[in-house]
């Protein structure tokens, strides 16, 4: 007798009743439920480590797609420096020929962004204001979101600020901060005469304030710069800007009959509204920069 029967012999024996198929269930073809591809599993946050490969492939793919889109756009751009480009139109000629006469600003960039394009700059100042307001909304600590641990940490910080000796930082800040702030004020006030202007000067002033605050602590800073002054300067600057520029709505775009005296180009008191606008932008930017720093370190200005 053969040890190994063929399948046919097995079948014959079964039909004759001589053999019972053991483990009959094994031979029944059952239809397994079709496993649907669970995409969620491959990219779920819980098992990021296992799905590293998927993420890598996906990120490379998306990046390649975006690079492709950007490069195709670059390809479609007009040739660099060609005289027939759409940017070489009569607007530029007009600005270059009549700019100083019409705005009174020697630094023509200031004349462009604060006279011809003053509403753009107003929008930018508003964006900064909105950004710092969002940071205030998210990070400012008040009674309701203030734990005991944080208060203790704050008190420790204050203690270190007043008692710790940091001679290099403190003496350096004492000497540098006034000069930095003075230079910032110079850049703001000379915005229409020399390179610079509201934004650059304001950020220099803000950097000076940050230097002072990091050396001497925010408790000392609060003697002259509190949250109240911060909001007043920000809102006041924006409102002054708005008032200075919205006179165009009442006088018409060319200001016929209501012209602001331009002064002699080159004098500090010249160029119409550019100087007060520069001061407004500078104040807003300085407050914003310092506000970011203060809110990120302590959650209070």
């Amino acid at each position: 007798m053969k040890d190994k029967k063929s399948f046919w012999e097995h079948l014959k024996a079964w039909v004759d009743g001589e053999e019972v198929i053991l483990n009959a269930d094994k031979y029944i073809a059952t239809r397994t439920p079709k496993e649907s591809l669970n995409w969620h599993k491959f990219f779920s946050v819980q098992n990021v480590k296992e799905n590293k490969r998927n993420y890598a492939v996906l990120s490379v793919g998306i990046t390649a797609l975006f690079i492709g889109i950007m490069l195709s756009v670059v390809d479609a751009l007009p040739e660099f420096g060609s005289p027939y480009n759409p940017s070489n139109n009569e607007v530029m000629v007009r600005y270059l020929e009549k700019g100083i006469e019409e705005t009174g600003a020697v630094n023509f960039v200031a004349g462009m962004i604060l006279d011809y394009r003053a509403f753009d700059t107003f929008g930018e100042a508003n964006v900064l204001f909105l950004a710092v307001m969002c940071v205030v909304l998210l990070l400012k600590k008040d009674k309701k979101n203030y734990s005991a641990k944080e208060e203790q940490e704050n008190q420790e910080d204050d203690f270190f600020d007043t008692n710790e000796k940091r001679p290099i930082l403190q003496i350096g800040a004492k000497m540098l901060a006034p000069m930095v702030i003075l230079y910032g004020i110079y850049v703001v006030l000379n915005g229409h005469l020399s390179p610079g202007g509201g934004f650059s000067g304001g950020s220099i002033i803000g950097a000076g304030l940050i230097l002072y605050a990091s050396a001497y602590g925010q408790k000392k800073m609060q003697t002259f710069f509190t949250f109240k002054t911060f909001t007043k300067i920000c809102a006041g600057g924006l409102l002054t800007y708005c008032a200075c520029k919205s006179y165009s709505f009442f006088t018409g775009a060319n200001h016929v009959g209501y012209e602001i005296p331009k002064g002699i180009p080159g004098n500090i008191l010249s160029a119409g509204f550019i100087l007060p606008l520069n001061i407004c932008v500078g104040l807003i930017v300085a407050c914003t920069m310092y506000g970011f720093y203060a809110l990120f370190t302590k959650g209070d200005i």
Binding site: P195, G196, S200, A207, I210, Y293
Partner: protein, 84 residues
């Protein structure tokens, strides 16, 4: 002479940009980014736009990196601080 300086500066710029993205240590990455901003400020000067140079030096190298450091401190990455 000017073009050679510009080429050297641009080479440094590319090196800094690669360094920022390839560095694992975020603290070092922020410092390299400060260097990138400073080089960029000098390049703006060569491109005859001193307005942008001042802004880049003040915002890019100064305030920006301070904000980056504060963010790193907030998310507990800087070692040696109380949060770290």
């Amino acid at each position: 002479m000017s073009t050679e300086i510009q080429i050297i500066l641009l080479a440094f710029l590319v090196a800094c940009a690669l360094g920022v993205s390839l560095t694992k240590n975020l603290f070092i990455a922020v410092i390299i980014f400060m260097g990138y901003s400073s080089i960029m400020a000098v390049i703006w000067l060569f491109l005859e736009s001193p307005d942008l140079a001042i802004t880049e030096a003040a915002v890019g190298a100064g305030v920006d990196s301070v904000l980056f450091f504060l963010t790193l401190k907030k998310v507990h990455i800087l070692k040696g601080t109380r949060e770290g």
